[in-house]
Amino acid sequence: MKEQLETIRQEATARIKEAENLKELQDIKVTYLGKKGSLTSVLRGMGKLSKEERPVVGEIANKVREAITNEIDEKTETLEKKALEEKLRNEAIDVTLPGRPVQVGGPHLLTGIIEEIEDLFIGMGYEVREGPEVETDYFNFEALNLPKGHPARDMHDTFYITNNLLLRTHTSPVQARTMQQYGGMQPVKMICPGKVYRRDTDDATHSHQFTQIEGLYVDANVRMSDLKGTLNTFAKSMFGEDREIRLRPSFFPFTEPSVEMDISCKVCKGDGCSVCKHSGWIEILGGGMVHPNVLEMAGYDSEKYTGFAFGMGPERIAMLKYGIDDIRHFYTNDKRFLTQYHHAKGGAL
């Protein structure tokens, strides 16, 4: 019987070694270890053995079973691994084929610019105010020190609806409205973005509709140097720490003194180039100290309160920042234009 067991073992080992797949291995398992397997039938003949021989042969038989089981397990693992490898090999794909496109939306470039400016001034303690696009002559002009017949009204080619109603030519009426609402009683610190309209024929540099963003700060003892410092902070964080600002005298009916602000040209660092029209400076915004007439009309005592105001054009900023050559792009909404500015924030002019 010992010989018989040994033969079974050797035979099994050889077959396990040769087995090529899990099915074969399963068959081997049944053949040797199954209920009708050869090892089982050998063990069934144990009854014929002597009392002394039985435990000895029994032990051998157990060892053979253990050995075969181990060999089958080992082989199973090997074959499973091989099968998995095979499967993975078959699952290989061409990773260079393009992926499924994702629909990505995004803000309009002007929204990006406006929100960046909003956030910047919110950080400096400003609130954001909005106002109507159809304005009265009073708020658009008179409350801003532009009485009827004032020559500076020529600067604004206005879309009138009636003698008294018009499309606002600037966002400044929001300043007048806010001050009036505050009734001369409390400081004002606000910016107001929005759409404005002028009688211009649309071309590369003119648009009958465009956007503006204005700021106003009214309090006791606001100085012109505060305007300069505030604009400097704005310019450096909007356009880069290395940029210088320059103020030049200018004229707006609602401010006195008035300023125009330039920033140093990034391209030539002030030496002059085509971007800055060889001046080394790029005009960015206008502003000034709030005219006493404007304060008084809104109910502020101009002896006690002073203030500054400034205004800029997001289109101009965007055009300078990205080198855009035609203002109409902002309103044509060509997909090939819009998709260039999915995340129109950051960067420097």
Binding site: P98, V104, T136, A152, Y197, M224, E256, N333, D334, K335
Partner: protein, 808 residues
Amino acid sequence: MFVSLNWLKNYVDIDSLSSEELAEKITKTGIEVDGIEYIAEKSRGVVVGYVETCDQHPNADKLNICQVDVGEEQLQIICGAPNVRQGQKVVVAKPGAVLPKNFKIKKVKLRGVESNGMICSLQELGIEEKYVPKDIAEGIFVFPDDVTVGEDVEPLLNLNDAVLEFDLTPNRSDALSMLGVAYETAAILGQDVKLPEETVHSAAEKAADYVSVSVKDPDLNPYYGAFIARDITIKPAPLWMRNALIAAGIRPINNVVDITNYVLLEYGQPLHAFDYDQFGSEQIVTRRAGQHENMTTLDGEERTLSNENLVITNGKEPVALAGVMGGLNTEVTDDTTTVLLEAAYFAPSTVRTSVNDTGLRSDSSTRFEKGVDPNRVEKAGWRACHLLETYAGATILAGPVSFDALDRSEKTVEMETDEINKRLGTAVTADDVVSILNKLQFSFEQDKDTFVVHVPTRRGDIAIFEDMLEEVARIYGYDQLPFTLPEGASQAGGLTGKQQLKREVKQYLQSAGLMETITYSLTDEAMIDKLISPELKEKRPTPVQLAMPMSEDHKYLRLSILPELLKTLAHNRARTQSDIHYYELGSVFVTNGEPITRQPDEKLRLAGALTGLWISHPWQQEKKPVDFYLVKGIVEGLFDYLDIPAAFEQVELPDMHPGRCATISINDRTVGFLGQLHPAFEKSMDLKETYVFDMNLEAVLDDYTNTTGYRPIPKYPSIARDIAFIVDEDIKAGAIQEAIAEAGDPLVKNVQIFDVYKGEHLPEGKKSIAYSLFYQDPDKTLKDDEVEQSYQQIVSTINEKFNAYVRS
């Protein structure tokens, strides 16, 4: 305003600066210099020549052979100009000379005859054609006799001049004169101003013997001065004056006209020269025009006037529209010998009205409209007389005859050094202020730190302390101001809840895959009543129309964002961009009734338009076009995001697909609509299948309540049951869903549709809709019989309500 630097040098010393440096300083101090023009490119080897002989070319009718003395030598030059004559002093480019555009002069042979150089026209020297006097526009330039043969022509013709182009703000009309520019330049450089010569050797004869002056409306015409200049010879003005006018952008005509133009530019005071012999009377009467009074202006146009216009008359009929244009009959001509010279102050308002009425805007009217310097009106008259005497041989009669009610007083402004520093944030001293006022040439009285400034009348823009503050600041230098930040109490800035929410709505739509657009608020007549949301249309809004639109395309304020948004889709489609997914957030303008007297309501709306493919992945054959349920999903997602329940109901709207359109409502109130455009409308706009949505965002946001609480996460498991009903085809799935939710309340927490089926195994005209019901009790684990009871309740309700039976 064009400022010739050679001209400016007559009044102020600017020789130490280059034109670029001067431009930079002027810009920084307050007048923006837009550009520097050079009269002509540099020429070399161009001199004055004397035409000794001039004979016709033997082989060419139109050419002349000239022997020209150029000083050191005599040159034979062939000249084709029709006006070349023996005895002229002309411009000669010698062989080797270089003219503008790098045109090199060489010795050549013309029709067999040698030509050693060229006799030049002004155009050939680089002067723009429009400034060349008309009589020599086709020919060469001829010098007056007093120039020296062989002399370089560059200074003689002012070719070395640089011209600064001022971009003047409306307040700085003082710089509409060379004298004003001189004061400004002098203030910047700390120099003096040298004033022009105004002396005249008046004759004993009196102007008053020739003319009387009567002013009917002193408010409109507070000063009128009439000078009489006799014995005039009309001829070209002196070369220097012609050069100056060309540099300033004015074409020279003759000495009298050129002198009035020259003084206009020099003093900023418009003058008018009438031919005295054609004046038609010996009296000047200025008055308001009569209603519908007619006159023919110098340009030959017949004008109908009103009593807002001021006219100059000869007592019988108008001879000039005051400040704007003279009449045809009294114009100075070559035969004029006696000139009546008008120097007047016309009120800005009347000139402005006349300009607007006639559309005639000129160098003169521009200055009157802004208000001329009252102290320079009469002086300008004398200056012109001085020039007429010198360059037109005029005899100036004792005068002028004038009407004078003009206020020439100077305004005074008080200021204190402390207040200046408080406003500017500076630390200027009283001495600094003194120095600044001296530079500006403003007279003042000083008491330690207090100043009373007498503002010269040439600076009509300065009236109050803040105006003087700007003067001090700009001469002190804006670049000298310190950088400070406001010292007021700080406050927290931020967005309002609604502003924040608006940003979130945008963010949601963008992450859902839509691109933001900004379109025009003004639309055209054909589009103004298109695609107006039903709840808005119900109010019968009146379109707000511009009084004077620039174009038919932008005439009405929009009542819906969609029309202009759809135009951008068509624009893109025409450029083969066919997959477009856009949204826009903006105002529409709603008002009722006509005429419009109040500001329209500006309603914030949110609209979207989608067309083409939503998903396109060609190599996997995946193509999913935009459809109704995509757009609805985006809209539903927005309401989920805002946690506002919204309902959708089938509706038929104009220009929308009758079977694919729904209203959007919240709290039983319609706030918008969505759906597919009607194919006929799509076609009319050059669009393919297009889906839109539009809603009153303001109403939606008003409904938003900020959830500050907390909804506990359920502790007990939920149980799902599926159920399918067979119903008539026209029954809406949403209605059944709503009824299920109602019948299953409170245990049914959620109802979802997972299958809609029509066709085989179902009777004709029926469909099956399958729902998943999710049961949950927040307080305990649900028992099967509880669920079963509710389930049966739902089945019987739906059966009753919709004649539906359960599909097994």
